[in-house]
């Protein structure tokens, strides 16, 4: 199934794209998606323990299942305010 992956801030720079469309085999979780994107962009690996993630603009857990067409976002540590 296809999902859209969205990166922000330094992750976006390291991934070299704001969004990418990738193919993962069902059943898949956010973690599966992360494994797939870090395979393509190994520079992202060091963020593994410091990312937050969201599915369809709702915060999620890495263990959460993803579905066909989902929008999965990876967020580096935040610095707003």
């Amino acid at each position: 199934m296809r999902v859209t992956v969205r990166f922000f801030a330094r992750l976006r720079e390291l991934a070299g794209a704001e969004t990418v469309s990738i193919e993962v085999t069902a059943p898949a979780t956010v973690s599966t998606v992360w494994q797939a994107v870090t395979q393509a962009a190994p520079d992202l690996v060091p963020f593994e323990r410091a990312i937050s993630c969201a599915i369809n603009a709702e915060f999620s857990r890495m263990s959460h299942p993803v579905s066909e067409g989902d929008d999965v976002a990876f967020l580096p540590p935040v610095s707003g305010g």
Partner: protein, 160 residues
């Protein structure tokens, strides 16, 4: 009263909105505390040329709503506005404005402080600093809106 914008922020405009929302509710509105985060001219000794803020807009709005709901639960009758600016900001410009309105002043200060602490913990917004001699992304907290320990820390800071 909750938004992400590319435009310059106005504490006056947000104050008017927030005050109007509580003027005739409960004990009315006697106190407004507000907070502005501004771009500083220097950071750790380096001269700042400008900053760029980036947000996950849709998620940021949800986070602001969550913070508003947390505030309403803890401080019934309080009103809260949060506007975060994104894009390129010059030194002296405001990146965020938070306005808290309550009947009495102690609560206004608490709500305002709580809100900025929560924004810094969980709002999906990122600061990119551009110096005279380079640039750096700032990375603070790993955002987890369900982290109760973080929420309690913000409450403690606000209500100390």
């Amino acid at each position: 009263m909750l938004s992400v914008t590319r435009d310059p922020l106005s504490v006056e405009a947000l104050t008017a909105q927030v005050e109007a929302s509580v003027r005739h509710r409960g004990d009315g509105c006697g106190a407004v505390a507000s907070f502005l985060g501004l771009v500083r001219a220097t950071h750790q000794g380096r001269v700042v040329k400008y900053l760029e803020y980036e947000a996950f807009d849709a998620l940021a709005l949800q986070v602001f709503s969550q913070i508003q709901a947390e505030v309403e639960e803890r401080w019934p009758g309080a009103a809260l506005g949060i506007v975060h600016r994104v894009g390129r900001l010059a030194v002296g410009e405001a990146s965020i404005v938070i306005v808290a309105a309550t009947a009495h002043r102690a609560e206004a200060f608490q709500v305002c402080r709580y809100a900025i602490e929560r924004v810094k913990q969980i709002a999906p917004v990122w600061k990119h600093e551009f110096f005279g001699d380079g640039e750096a992304w700032v990375e603070g907290a790993v955002a987890d809106p369900a982290d109760e320990a973080a929420r309690m820390r913000a409450l403690e800071i606000a209500c100390a």
